[in-house]
Amino acid sequence: MKLKTLTLGLMMAAGLSHADTYNIDTKGAHAFVQFKIQHLGYSWLYGRFDEFSGTFDYDEKNPAAAKIEMTVNTASVNSNHTLRDKHLRSDDFLNVEAHPEAKFTSTGFTEGENGHGSMTGDLTLNGVTQPVTLDVQFIGAGKDPWGGFRRGYEATTEIKLSDFKIKKSLGPKSETLLLTVSVEGIKQ
């Protein structure tokens, strides 16, 4: 009986306790939206998006309620090659004129061991929204030296370019892109 009350009390506390909101630290550039895709099947080509923003909510007592929302400026794609980036911005790939933003909105989080877990959500890219599942690694959390509190994760997923109606295919080995989103949030 006592245990039951305690459990109930904890559950209520969990329900009542509110999640902390973290702003993704883009100002200090402690966050990255990276991708890699194979070139001809012989090597990995790395690229990134330089401009994005977002926030996430996390409550240690109720990790399942964790959520994140991120917006990426698609025109900020950068693969260290001016003319390739110009091509990536064109309607052969990202079509940034028609779709200047890519967006991820989480729909659920399942926490496993040590804060790691799996996050589902809707990814909108090239104007197409598809459900994706991110493999989330919890990196760490705690006070920073300047009076704030930070929490960081790295999430990875694979996306098929054709699922997002990306027109150009660069060959059978280059149809799947590996996306890595690395974020450090500052508690608000």
Binding site: N80, T82, D85, K86
Partner: protein, 177 residues
């Protein structure tokens, strides 16, 4: 020399016809190269040829610009009407404006980023302007659409030459041959 046998000097004619050939070549190569399959053997080389020939045209037209100052410019044929002379002058100015904007925008958008551009592993193109990605896209837009305009203008220019040759039966085209 009588007006009927007078011709443009040799260098003028060479620059004129080589420009015509090179500009059409640039248009066609530009048209083809943006839609080349990634696995085409031309995918790496055609854009470099396009850039190299674009540079050549830029220098050729700087030379043309300097040669405009010469005192020995041929006068318009006396049989040409005032409207024809005015029209020809407008077309000429427009050719200069278009060719310079097209070649310069091409140069600027290919060299405007952070990476170094080297043609055929030997000719390094210096970065004259640092551009944002949006500016690069704007330059590329200008480059593409003004090239269409240039081809329309060249078409009209050619039709006018044919008209003078066949309908007016004057010496206009022959002066450039």
């Amino acid at each position: 020399m009588s007006e009927v046998t007078e011709k443009y000097d040799g260098l003028t004619r060479i620059i004129h016809w080589s420009s015509a050939l090179l500009l059409i070549g640039l248009f066609v190569s530009g048209w083809i190269m943006v839609d080349l399959d990634y696995y085409s053997p031309w995918y790496q080389t055609l854009p470099q040829w396009h850039q190299l020939i674009g540079l050549l045209v830029m220098f050729l037209w700087v030379l043309k610009l300097f040669r405009l100052k010469r005192s020995t410019q041929l006068a318009a044929l006396s049989s040409h009407s005032r409207t024809e002379v005015l029209l020809a002058r407008c077309v000429k100015v427009l050719f200069y404006v278009l060719v310079f904007i097209i070649t310069l925008s091409g140069y600027f958008f290919s060299t405007g980023g952070d990476d170094v551009v080297i043609l055929f592993e030997s000719l390094k193109l210096p970065q004259l302007l640092t551009l944002s990605s949006q500016q690069i896209d704007t330059m590329a837009w200008l480059h593409e659409y003004l090239a269409y305009a240039l081809m329309v203008l060249a078409g009209l220019h050619a039709l006018a030459a044919i008209k003078h040759h066949t309908l007016d039966r004057d010496h206009t085209l022959k002066r450039m041959l």
